[in-house]
Amino acid sequence: MNFFTIVTRGLLRRPVRTGLTLVGISIGIAAVVALIGISRGFESSWATGMKVRGTDIVVSNMGNALAPKPFSSEVRDRIGKLPEVSAACSIYADLTSVEDASMMVVSAREWDGFSWQNLKLISGRMPNDAMEPAVVLGQTAAEMLKKKIGDPLQLETKELTVVGIVDGGAMVENGSVILSLALFQNITGNEGRINVIDIRAAPGLSEEAVKQLCDKIDAIAPEAKAMVAGEHLGNSQAFRFISAMSWGTSLLAVIVGVLGVMNTMLMTVFERKQEICILLAIGWKPGRVIRMILWESALLGFLGGIVGVIIGTIGVKVLETLPAIHGMLEPDFNAGLMGVAVVLSVVVGVLSGLYPAWRSSRLTPSLAMQG
């Protein structure tokens, strides 16, 4: 019987208790995987949305609201004059309830601006002109709103017609109601106001030069902040709050897991007092006993991590199929996240085993004789 057989047998001695502890720790890890995966997925989906639109820089004022704050459309003209800017496209992006859908992205884009170019028509057509009372819907938005070509869509005070369904190449684009900026400004009473400017930098600009361009834009447009595309979401207080909430909730779940493992390992030490004392009596050093307990808790953590990753991934996949959430999640379950989750679980296991291991090292061979 080698060292690792003893470790494994220690866990298998009480299979139900070990199983329940595994469930506890794996739920914690599942929460980490699900919440962080969803939050990162949202971030990377925005980044993909920017990429497919060919946007290098996003100018917006992300305060603590979910949608950026509006500013004058005159800012776009100021930025457009910079020699390093090859194209600028004004946008009014809003999060609002549309008909019986709770919250949807309404993306109003400058007519003829480059942000229309990535939209691939699946059916129907694009609006004919900037003031045609028409919208195109991302394919997920069309499903959520149960709309097809020719259907009316009530947006604020106006009834518009769905003329096209598009594939925007990213979750955010596909979940959006897309229309001309001038039309949106007219129906919402926001003439002359925008809240995002997409910018394409001049070809050949290095990463460093793009960052310098951001600083230049900030200097001439203090109403908003220029960020390299993909990084701008991190500037949103609302997103940072959601991200912090995800980590906070995950941490709580992990703490519950720690307590579960610690309880199990303590019980193990108490129940196996005689066995441990005999091991000490036959020459095991306290350090080896400590290692045995730590290996047991680490193994528990490792197995909990694996099961947690599986539960978290399957759980989110099931969530995605629910009608209320369908099309709103694009989780990012990359190998890195899964690896971090398993490592975290092992660390949790080891930390939880420290106190029980210390208790076990305090036992003496003579205690074995006391029964």
Partner: protein
């Protein structure tokens, strides 16, 4: 003994006066936040009862210290689009109202009808124009934690000359943000008639925390109304026509005075 009472009674009166002052100040602050000029609110109203109904609404309001005018206009669904309710209240006088149903049906609401349901919801017409923070009797009657937030409970009662369907209203106020997290309205016999819970608070452009989502439970069994705010625009310029039945015939977007 008399000397002791002479010392204690003024002290108790002073403490009580201080508490009343604090309640009056809080009520005045909340009342002023409600009577905050011209604004337009867009919201979704979902009534869940025997049948579920959803309305997209535009609310135009002009609120001053002495008068309130509010128009609720239905934007969606199509079959009810254009329906509107105009409600008015001046000072301590009873509220009055007008209902418009397209294409041209106009009916008036007298004071006895003000406790009827607003657009089929669990709110009454009175609920949206009556500002109980402006009632004369205000007192802080305790503290309680609501959704993990410590709140002062403000009790408002109509004073002499102030008529209301309710005998008292209790408001759980988050004092850190000065935002009501729960409102309970009681009949004159003390029976709970209506409970309004704030389920989401947002910060508006004036950096003021305001309730964005509300859940309303009224006396109707099994019925709940959810109000989910999409946007609010302050400092809006309205024409007087927009607060008349003639103005209801065209549902127009709100334009900020700065636009």
């Amino acid at each position: 003994m008399k000397t002791l009472l002479r010392l204690i009674i003024p002290a108790l009166l002073a403490v009580s006066a201080l508490a009343d002052d604090s309640a009056s100040e809080l009520a005045a602050k909340l009342g002023a936040l409600q009577q905050n000029g011209s604004s337009v609110v867009r919201l979704k109203m979902e009534v869940q009862g025997a049948a579920k109904s959803t309305l997209q609404l535009q609310i135009k309001q002009r609120r001053t210290n002495s008068a309130t005018e509010v128009v609720y206009q239905v934007l969606w669904p199509k079959e009810r689009a254009g329906e509107a309710v105009l409600l008015r209240k001046t000072g301590d006088q009873s509220a009055s109202g007008t209902i418009f149903i397209p294409p041209n049906t106009v009916s008036t609401l007298d004071s006895s009808q003000m406790k009827e349901a607003l657009l089929g919801s669990d709110l009454t017409y009175d609920d949206v124009v009556e500002n109980f923070f402006l009632w004369k009797q205000q007192a802080i009657v305790g503290t309680e934690v609501v959704n993990r937030v410590s709140c002062d409970i403000l009790e408002s009662k109509p004073g002499r000359g102030q008529r209301s369907y309710y005998g008292s209203v209790r408001t759980w106020v988050d004092r850190r943000r000065d935002v009501p997290l729960r409102v309970e309205k009681y009949s004159s016999s003390g029976k709970l008639v209506r409970r309004i819970e704030t389920t989401r608070v947002v910060t508006n452009d004036d950096k003021q925390a305001v309730p964005a989502n509300l859940t309303v439970n009224g006396p109707r069994q099994g019925s709940v109304t959810e109000l989910n705010g999409s946007s609010v625009k302050h400092g809006v310029s309205f024409s007087d026509k927009e607060f008349t039945p003639a103005g209801f015939m065209e549902v127009s977007p709100a334009r900020s005075a700065s636009n």
